[in-house]
Subunit: 337 residues, 2 copies
């Protein structure tokens, strides 16, 4: 019989679970120094983004810790992808209850380690503190982009002639969340379909390669986190233009198509639901063929879903298959109509 | 009579309180993009450090919000100072209870704004999330250091001939905390002395100019946050050497000297108390005169307090005025003797 281990202090936690994650980064200084020291190669700019997650707000206490780690890291990497940047490291802030089960932290760190290998990035530093509240996590991801080539939400040039595109498929995560929350009855989808949707919610795939390949090609870009309509609206707000989305062209996964066939009303959730972490971007109509080549080369769907146009800043119209404006009403886009 | 304002959402909070703090930084993109875009000038390396603070753990709910902002920012800047870096911006993660009084956030942001002007740094980004727990804050501070000139905890070269120095005065914050917590009776110090000590606790002064001036001069450096003995121990641990501190040489403020005259036992708290945010560093004995010149030029005391020496890694001996080893016992240094 092994006696129970004494609780680890901050230094113990860092040494056991976090320092191994920094082993690949000399500039992390083994996490023993006050800060990390990093070199930005000549000709590159630094991109930095931060996303935080709180237990009970952004994830459930019962979610698998490795899934929480993956989502935390990947939502940050998605922000780098949206600027066309290549990730090179991340820092982590852990605010953990003193009585947190050590197995939770071990599983969380294992999840980070797995994704570090997947995306080729080390932990470079951060902080670990105690809290009397819920587990609170924040990651700052650092990326590099060739100087002058970063992509932004704000459109370069006028909206006329700019088409709207989106990577991958839309709505999987939003419908997955409805199953997780019990808002949709399990009988509405086959178990394997539900599993696909929930996996898309918990382990989004940051579109890093596509984001980098779109440098010099996309004219405005962001990642779809708040919901397709809201996020296209964000592009339009900062760019002073409007957009039209043709709902018949939305790229939908087979599970989402099957669900929509039974419950057409769920289109609102697909359009407004968020958590897709796909890239939405505009590009000139003349470069459509290049985009097709890029999609084929990278093995990621890129679908034309509409266009930008002159109009009130931030207005996003949604058309049905016959070109008629869809009625608003779903959360997230009603105020744009 | 003005009706009460409706609660601000995340975008509202960011727009009202945070975006103005980012106005000085084009790369912050008005906080409307997914990430910030920063240029590291040629010939410089990037230093990044992160410190988090939780209400009820690192500060009291009743502490003035502007003081909390100052401490959060300055502890991070102190980490930059310890590496000889010049600060150029910071990102901020706010995890705030939904029912937080808006006045708290306004005062907190005002405190950040004041310190931004003081230290010449903009807000570059971050995240703002809701929590059902206590206010949880994290700052990542970014700094620049000429390539190859950063200072570290790890000693360059052998310990023989390396003297130990510390900036400013030691122990003020630790004794200030004892008054705040009621561990010391107010009658032990004059009100103006207590105010000085508590101000040092709440608004530490990051030694940025000294830290930068010590590039090429200090052989190992860190900032004193855990306590002088523990932090000198950190240098010794990563450097594989020992240290001797002459307690009679410790730089003490007039309020601390007055307290020690009445309560000599408080020396343990001065040595081990932490939160000083002064720089502790080693430098070759041959360069003592340069340090004196530097201190005079910058108007910051630099005091020789001991030396490094060969010995068990991490051992810190404390001598009294007669050169006799002081008995251990205070938290933070008992295990080093």
């Amino acid at each position: 019989m092994t006696p129970p281990e004494p609780p680890l202090g901050e230094f113990g936690r860092i040494g056991r679970y976090l320092a191994p994650l920094a082993a690949g980064c000399p500039g992390a200084l083994g996490l023993t120094d006050d800060a990390a020291l990093l070199t930005v190669p000549a000709g590159y700019e630094l991109v930095i983004t931060t996303d935080a997650m709180v237990a009970g707000v952004h994830f459930l206490d019962t979610d698998p810790p490795a899934d929480i780690a993956a989502k935390l890291l990947r939502t940050n990497l998605s922000d780098l992808a949206a600027m066309g940047a290549e990730p090179f490291g991340y820092s982590l802030v852990l605010s953990l209850p003193r009585d947190l089960d050590q197995g939770w932290l071990a599983a969380f760190a294992a999840g980070l380690g797995e994704d570090q290998r997947r995306y080729g990035i080390p932990l470079i530093g951060g902080d670990s503190v105690a809290t009397r509240g819920p587990v609170t996590l924040a990651v700052s991801a650092l990326g590099l982009v060739p100087a002058g080539q970063a992509l932004f939400r704000r459109l370069r040039g006028p909206p006329a002639g700019q088409l709207l595109f989106v990577t991958g498929t839309i709505g999987d995560a939003a419908l997955g969340l409805k199953f997780v929350l019990g808002d949709l009855d399990d009988s509405l989808a086959a178990p394997e379909d539900r599993a696909v949707l929930i996996a898309r919610l918990r382990r989004p795939e940051p579109r890093l390669a596509v984001g980098q390949a779109l440098r010099g090609l996309a004219s405005a870009m962001l990642d779809v986190s708040d919901g397709l309509i809201a996020d296209v609206g964000h592009i339009c707000e900062v760019s002073g233009c409007a957009a039209v989305i043709d709902s018949a062209r939305l790229p939908l996964s087979a599970p989402v198509r099957a669900l929509l066939a039974r419950r057409p009303d769920l289109l609102a959730a697909v359009l407004a639901g968020g958590d897709d972490y796909e890239l939405a971007f505009s590009a000139p109509a003349a470069r459509r063929a290049e985009l097709e080549g890029l999609a084929a080369r990278l093995g990621v769907a890129i679908t034309e879903i509409g266009r930008l146009e002159d109009g009130p800043a931030g207005r996003v119209a949604v058309l049905d298959g016959a070109g008629r404006a869809l009625a608003p009403g779903a959360r997230g886009w009603s105020h744009f109509s």
